[in-house]
Symmetry: C2
Subunit: 323 residues, 2 copies
């Protein structure tokens, strides 16, 4: 642990502690203690100080700091190394750079806000400060590049389950990569890959969730009406808890995927999705309409066209026509 974390731990463990006493125990000066306290306050921790009692811990930060996430995290790899930034261009960019420099599987970049948050195909992902979860996970599976299709489906299951465990909400998954609550979009998944012909070098899995984001700030979203978890369930949602559970759920599913393949997860995805069984319009350059029958063992969507032909779709913008 770094010194700042030791200061924070002491504050949390004890009802109050004097700067002098704490400095002595940590072998640093009173001024150094004071500097760490101020840095913690800047990060959003509420810490009182009185001449008699010294410092006392009032309230945790609202930021997604490693100091908050790590202590309750029950994973082996996902999020064990966690880089937090107040503001980034895009967590995908930072994670990409780390991956190129050799960062390990499970490394996560998380940010309070993104200036150029990305969705699929270079689209904008609106990322207002402090209400959302914007994170990118570095993965290094031993996979053929063609299997990347399955990654956003697995991440979708994990996000869906994490939301169910953290809120009273019952989200569904819209193929290939949206998290839907009451017909509105609450989150999305972006999967970017660096590969050779016969193997993945690394995948940068981006997950964006509108958690406590004021819905008015999401108005600019172009594809479908946006919502946030807090708006839908009417109460503030702990982002820290949500992220911890998301990492756990994802680690379990991803491990299963790497060991046993996608087949073992296909049914789980199907139970949570709103796409199969619906009439859909899919646009990806061309526009097609038909009935979404199923996803196949590779994760492709099977769509029966008007003329009875079944097409196998790898991606695109899906509109549900029944709702």
């Amino acid at each position: 642990m770094y010194m700042k974390e030791l200061v924070l731990k002491a504050l949390r463990d004890e009802s109050h502690v004097s700067g002098e006493d704490l400095g002595r125990r940590l072998k640093i000066s009173r001024t150094a203690v004071w500097k760490h306290i101020n840095e913690l306050r800047r990060q959003g921790y509420k810490i009182a100080s009185s001449p008699k009692l010294g410092y006392s811990y009032i309230e945790s930060t609202s930021l997604l700091l490693p100091e908050e996430i790590t202590p309750g995290l029950q994973t082996q790899t996902i999020g064990k190394y966690l880089l937090h930034r107040d503001e980034v261009t895009s967590t995908q960019d930072i994670a990409e750079k780390l991956a190129r420099e050799g960062a390990k599987e499970g490394t996560v970049v998380i940010a309070e806000t993104q200036i150029r948050g990305r969705g699929r195909k270079g689209r904008n992902w609106i990322s207002p400060p402090e209400g959302g979860v914007y994170l990118s996970i570095i993965l290094r599976p031993s996979l053929m590049p063609s299997r990347i299709v399955q990654i956003p489906l697995i991440a979708g299951i994990a996000a869906n389950k994490a939301i169910r465990r953290t809120t009273p909400l019952q989200p569904s998954l819209k193929w290939p990569n949206d998290i839907i609550i009451n017909g509105k979009k609450a989150g999305g998944i972006l999967t970017e890959m660096n590969s050779e012909v016969d193997g993945v070098n690394y995948i940068i899995l981006g997950i964006g969730l509108n958690v406590n984001t004021p819905v008015s700030l999401l108005a600019g979203l172009t594809d479908g009406i946006a919502t946030s978890l807090a708006y839908e369930c009417g109460e503030h949602v702990s982002r820290v808890k949500l992220v911890q559970i998301l990492f756990s759920e994802f680690e379990v599913l991803y491990t299963k995927f790497v060991i046993s393949g996608f087949a073992s997860l296909r049914d789980e995805w199907k139970k949570l999705n709103n796409t199969t069984g619906s009439r859909v319009r899919i646009s990806d350059g061309d526009v097609i309409e038909g009935e979404a029958l199923d996803i196949d063992e590779d994760g492709f969507l099977l769509v029966r066209m008007e003329n009875g032909d079944v097409r196998r779709i790898i991606g695109g913008d899906v509109t549900l026509l029944d709702n």
Copy 2:
């Protein structure tokens, strides 16, 4: 054109030219002319100077400078923007960075030597200075990630044809990515891709050719015996001409591929390859042996095993067992 290129052009066009005269025509000082001459000399151009006649052009540089390659280049996109470096970690790294920053399709990075030249699967690619061709081409095809398999095959045809047009040699192609002369490896291809689930963002196509490289410097190569074009044909090979023709050949094939798909190029690859029809051992974690029957319409190698089953292979280290 930059000033240095204008100085070079004047030297090439005229038998001799005085610094004063040239400075006047280019509206720069004599000292500035002298500086450009010295820079050209540093790059390997031989330029004589005499008090009476001024400067005169003796011999071209041996470096793969844009000034040398561009004038004779007959392409629309490939190599039109050409970045030359004396020494790089790897041309793949530089091209990757340019691609991420938005560099156009056809942009090429070329280097005289690489400190950490890469082969497949992060292996070392020995890159001694000035004898080899080490280059990376940025491609932005509108393709599904699974079709990346076909890119090194197309690049192989282009390299093979360029060598045939520049030397008396008759190379063959070993699936998936080697250029073979008299049973020895003279070049290789490395294909790296950045993609989303349903589309390629960019491909960095790396081509390494041992052209005039002394064979003694290639002794460290691990997979198979290495050779160079000059060693095999017994004469010095013009790297500039080879690169110009390689870009032309590749542009023709790649355009055909993007418009008509791989099927139109499959026969061409098969005519130049030494793998189909041979007994092969393929190692990629597992080791299999069998008869390489053909490549399919996707570019996968079809191998008939001992028990009669035909397996479809995407990549790996191939050893020909007949030779």
